[in-house]
Symmetry: C2
Subunit: 87 residues, 2 copies
């Protein structure tokens, strides 16, 4: 079975996010002073081939922990959905 | 009223995503050969002060178009939720 995962990787809430701060500052310059508290992270989509949803979850979790997220500075969350495969 | 927006900015489906390709390749190296078709984009969260949800949507859309996304290469989507403010 094929699953599609949608992953968000964000800087930990306790940490400063300089990129987000810069974007917040720039919002004022383009006349959007009502926008604040911008935080910038990564969004990834991927496909995983697995026999069951728990197995697919395990694979995506491993990928996040080993490769995608730096857990000292970032946290990740993801959701999975089964992909319909045409027969 | 305060709204929290959650924005995903991804490379257009028709375009190659070299960063995603590199991540796909590395999945094999860490023993996750079942993972494929990785695409890498940005995830942003921000807060916007507006009198109504449509007004907040308009502001976030403007921010994406003017500052956050490069619409030649990227597409964006977002969702808004009202933030409960304590009295």
């Amino acid at each position: 079975m094929k699953f599609r995962a949608s992953i968000n990787i964000m800087p930990l809430p306790a940490l400063l996010d300089p990129q987000g701060k810069a974007v917040s500052g720039n919002m004022k310059n383009i006349g959007l002073s009502s926008i604040d508290n911008v935080r910038v992270g990564k969004h990834l989509t991927l496909e995983v081939e697995a026999s069951s949803q728990p197995e697919a979850e395990e694979q995506v979790k491993t990928a996040c922990e080993k490769l995608l997220a730096n857990q000292i500075m970032e946290q990740f969350e993801f959701r999975l959905e089964a992909v319909e495969t045409e027969a």
